[in-house]
Every structure is written in structure tokens, then in C-alpha cells.
Subunit: 214 residues, 2 copies
DNA sequence: TCCTGTGAAACGGTTCACAGCC
DNA sequence: GGCTGTGAACCGTTTCACAGGA
């Protein structure tokens, strides 16, 4: 149990877990760091260093037992519990997230959907009814939700983040293109799709300064 | 024009640009590295280091001219040209991306949408008709598209990526939960929403090993 | 022999601190 | 005096290399 685990390690753990689950469903009993690295897109040294931060899961000369290791990783990533997620913003991105089957499969249950638009409030997505954003605090407290997804315009994000934190949220997935200010005990991950495209166009422009071949 | 610019620098450049555009629309003429850092969510040293990689845009004692700097950043990020984007996968995520107004505003035009589902092929999104994935090469070459978005199941992603690269794609935005193998001259950014949630639940679990307060 | 676990070295990114220009 | 641009110090991450157990 390390004091501080790097962001990149956590990402790699997710990759390992996905690779392990594929191996598991193929009935492969053990895997070496080399093999796991190959399938997870990193290096063997990385695999061993990453895993050794949390304990000694492997056997020298043999490798790692696939079911045991994937179980450990699930526990490390907090996937042995179910998480209640409140979704703020019933737009396109919110809808895509809501219907994404992998979320429920990984233990993330979207228990409520909120929006500010009166036209959307009252409509139902599956069995979940869209409620007004004013209900944010009630919903977080009522469901005991730890996670909040903000799929809202940038102007609204900071205020909603503060309200969510005050109501007890511990993690925020932020789709708005603003840097949220939250207390240290709250985790935030930013998803900024325009920024990702900008990284691509930058890389291409750098490689070929004449500009895109359009 | 540096040989190698770090991933994190590019992300920060995007942040600076967004902050600058807000300043620009407020009519602010100049900005110091301190101010820009505050609004971009970093430090003044970072702002200066990042920008100095591309030239000397500021004046000592005065700061940076807002319109000039934002113009420079747009050019650095490749936003002075329009980019043609081919979207593969007409599901929820594809649809969310397609309708996202900020893309067009930043110069990214979705020129074609492809899908493998016969039920979807032939339908229209706005003025764009959904075409079969078989058309991938034709579409990339026909439109001269440099960017491809893969919003498809993990099994299909690697094969489609290879086809896209062979047809001339230079950048891939990958929503599938697999590590794509592409030649060095092709840029890839991965967007993995489940992984982002896993990072959150990990952070919360670490802080409070008893598990989520559900 | 095979493969893990881990110190140690190498690398790269961040922060510091100040020289130099306005 | 104010603020940029930048070498140098610092620090965390990645990579290496090997000791030691199966």
C-alpha cells in the first residue's frame, strides 16, 4: 500500500486488468510479465514495478496466476464494490455515457440524471427520470453517490462541482473545458475531446510543417 | 521548433489558448505569465518554459500581447487550417461527437460517417449520409482526410486503424479499449471513459480503504 | 533455467532563481 | 520595478541489470 501511486501507473493497471480478463476468458492459467506487457502495451519492467508497489503477486520462474492477479487488480482499482454515479447534463455526451454498457459491467451504476433544461426535465431514460439540477444535493445524499459526471457547459461546471463536493461527492469526471478547483480529498479527471484532437493536429503539423494535406 | 515537445506541454498549450480566447473576448490587451498560469491552471514558470520552446512571444516587463499570443498558439496547434475528420462508428459516442459544436468551431469538419450495421447505413446525420465501413479507404482518399475517429468495438479497432493508416490517415482518436499498433508517423490519442472512472474509484479507495461510502 | 522483485542508473519533466530587457 | 527567457537544480518516472526463489 504505497503512499503515492502515479497517474500513469493507475492507467497501466487498467490496461493490465483488461488484458488479464481476455486471458481469463481464454482459460489461460498463468502469464509472465513479458506476455502481460505485450498485451497491455508496455514493458515487462513496468509490469513488475507497477505490481510490486502493491505486493508480491507472482512466483519467480513461473509468472502470475491470471485469476488471482486480475482479482487483486480489481480490488486495487476499487472494482470489487459498486459505485453510484450521478450524471449532470442530459445532452449528447450524457446520453452516450448513460447507455454505455461497460459502465454497469465495471460496477458503475448511474442512479440519477439531472439537467437544467425544462424541456428535458421529466423525461425518462430507461427507468431513470431526468430531474432538475436543483436536486443535485438531494440526489447525492439520497443515493449516497460518490461519483459525479459533469457533462455541462463550462460556465456551469465550477459551481456544480462545488455543490457536488459540499453534498459529499468524492470523485468528479469533468467534460467541461475548465480547470475545476476542488479540495484535495476530491479526485477529478478531465475529459476534453477538443483537446485530444488538438494534440493530434499538433503532432501532424509538427511532423509536416506545411500543414495538413487537405 | 523543438525536436520533441512533451505531451503535457501540448495539453497546457490548449489550456492557455482557451484562457487567452476568454481574455480576448473581454478585450484584455496583455497578460503576464502569472495571470495566464492562474487562468490556465498551472504555474508561471510552466507558462514561460512552454512558450519559450516555440519562440520569444513576450516582452520583458510587460507580458504577452493577448491577440498575438493566441494567434501563435492557434498556429502551433495546427488550428489555422481546417481538418477533415472521418468518423467510424455511428453509435452513441459517434453521434455525440458529430453534434459537438466545438469541433467545427476549432476547425474540425466531420466529412464522413461510417458504420458496419446495415440498419444504420443509408441514414443521414444532417447532410452526411452513413456509409458502410468498406468505404473507409475511398472516403479517406476522396476527402483527403488526415484524422480518423474510431468509435467502434475493441475487436474491430486494430484492423480499422491499419486500413486507415494505409489509406493515408495521420492521426487517430481511439475510443476502443485496446492499445493500437501504428507506425511511428501516425499520432494516436486514446479516450477511455471506463479507465477514467477507474482512476477515480482507485483514488477514492486509496484515500479510504474501507471502500466507497455507498 | 526461467522469471520475479528491486536497488541503482538514466532520463525527462518541473521548479527555482536570476540575468537581462522594457 | 516588473516580467520574460533560460540555465541549473531538483524530483519523479522509466529503464536497466541482477540477485534470488521456483
Amino acid at each position: 500500500m504505497p503512499r503515492r501511486v502515479s497517474e500513469s501507473t493507475i492507467r497501466r493497471l487498467s490496461h493490465y486488468l483488461r488484458a488479464l480478463e481476455r486471458l481469463e476468458s481464454d482459460g489461460v492459467p498463468t502469464v509472465s510479465s513479458d506476455e502481460l506487457a505485450e498485451r497491455g502495451g508496455t514493458t515487462a519492467a513496468h509490469v513488475r514495478k507497477d505490481l510490486s508497489q502493491f505486493g508480491s503477486f507472482g512466483k519467480r520462474g513461473l509468472g502470475y496466476k491470471v485469476p488471482e492477479l486480475s482479482d487483486r487488480l480489481r480490488r486495487i482499482l476499487g472494482l470489487d464494490a459498486r459505485w453510484r454515479v450521478v450524471l449532470v447534463g442530459a445532452g449528447r455526451i450524457g446520453s452516450a455515457l448513460f447507455e454505455y454498457p461497460n459502465f454497469a459491467a465495471r460496477g458503475y451504476d448511474c442512479v440519477a440524471v439531472l439537467d437544467a433544461d425544462p424541456d428535458k426535465i421529466g423525461r425518462s431514460w430507461g427507468s431513470v427520470r431526468i430531474r432538475p439540477v436543483e436536486d443535485l444535493e438531494d440526489v447525492i445524499k439520497g443515493f449516497g453517490a460518490s461519483l459525479v459526471v459533469l457533462a455541462v457547459p463550462p460556465e456551469a461546471a465550477q459551481c456544480l462541482a462545488e455543490r457536488a463536493v459540499a453534498a459529499g461527492a468524492r470523485g468528479i469526471m469533468n467534460f467541461a473545458a475548465v480547470q475545476l478547483r476542488v479540495p484535495a480529498h476530491v479526485a477529478v479527471t478531465d475529459v476534453n475531446l477538443v483537446m485530444e484532437l488538438e494534440a493530434l493536429s499538433f503532432a501532424i503539423t509538427q511532423a509536416e510543417p506545411a500543414g495538413p494535406a487537405v
